[in-house]
């Protein structure tokens, strides 16, 4: 399949999924034959072609479409969490919300978006930040002090180039 067709037709279809990675492009999409035996015999060639396509696509403006989709999906999920959990005190209850679970599943891609959300609705996002970063940078002396916890996370994000 020609690269132009892949960018125009296939990438938008896959990039609507927030956790899409270019390496998930099925090999058969870059090789003209659908014959199983033929594909099996040319696997090495197929993977090389896919690598070439991915290399070119990483410079492609089609990626902007993907990044925009990630932000849009995150914002939609965050809105659902805020709407449903506005009056909930338990961070565990909030974290178990299906939309919250999906946010955690989006991984490091959305870390800058989470840091930005701390300015609006701080208490919701500490669990997700810790789950994604694998660390809790808040000292014991700041426990419960929401403005200080926000500062701790922002400082950590800046130091580790996660601020976006």
């Amino acid at each position: 399949m020609e690269e132009a067709i892949l960018i125009k037709k296939t990438l938008p279809k896959y990039s609507q999924f927030s956790n899409f990675h270019l390496t998930q492009i099925p090999p058969y999409l870059v090789y003209p034959s659908f014959d199983t035996k033929d594909v099996t015999n040319h696997l090495e060639e197929i993977y090389k072609i896919r690598e070439y396509v991915i290399f070119n696509l990483t410079c492609s403006p089609a990626l902007t479409h993907r990044e925009n989709n990630i932000a849009a999906r995150f914002n939609q999920l965050a809105s659902e969490v805020i709407e449903d959990c506005m009056m909930i005190s338990s961070p565990t209850q909030i974290a178990l919300h299906p939309s919250y679970q999906e946010i955690i599943g989006m991984g490091k891609n959305i870390f800058p978006l989470l840091i930005k959300k701390l300015d609006e609705t701080p208490i919701f996002w500490f669990w997700a930040l810790e789950a994604i970063a694998g660390i809790n940078p808040v000292p014991k002396s700041h426990r419960g002090n929401i403005p200080e916890i926000v500062k701790d996370w922002k400082k950590w994000a800046n130091t580790n180039n996660y601020a976006g």
């Binding site: 009056m87 005190s89 338990s90 565990t92 609705t121 419960g144």
Partner: protein
């Protein structure tokens, strides 16, 4: 303060009589508010505040221990106003996990006060916020002498 709130009423259909007492504030939650602390978010899990030496477990025993450390004693489900005492009601979900705390209003008999998560705080009856949304029902009530 506005007189009514559509969001609250949609989540608590039994809430017929209530008063809005303060605006949205992210700094404190219901557990803190019931402990007369409007500066921190209390929950037995980092990075939130929990009193020292109290087990950091999300179960009723830990929450009871939390308020006992502030001088409260259990009085089962006795929600009646008693002169000279202040009371706290801890709500639990169907699995017995704490969800919310309310403190008794010492000015208006029969009414309680709650900070609703990060949302506003209201004056209400216990029945008004029971049985619905994510709060469940009252699991235990504790009381202490007014200082």
């Amino acid at each position: 303060m506005p007189v009514r709130d559509a969001y609250i009423e949609s989540r608590f259909p039994q809430l017929t009589s209530y008063k809005i007492k303060s605006p949205i504030d992210d700094k404190y939650n219901c557990i803190a508010f019931a402990a007369n602390d409007n500066t921190k978010w209390w929950w037995p899990k980092a990075p939130f505040y929990w009193p020292p030496d109290i087990p950091e477990k999300e179960d009723l025993d830990s929450f009871v221990a939390c308020y006992k450390s502030l001088g409260y004693k259990e009085c089962r489900l006795n929600s009646k106003f008693e002169k000279g005492y202040e009371k706290v009601a801890i709500f639990v979900d169907p699995n017995g996990i704490p969800t919310h705390a309310a403190k008794q209003d010492t000015d208006v008999k029969g009414f309680w006060k709650s900070k609703l998560g990060r949302y506003i705080d209201i004056e209400h009856t216990l029945k008004g916020i029971s049985g619905t949304y994510s709060y469940g029902n009252v699991g235990v009530i504790l009381k202490r002498k007014v200082k």
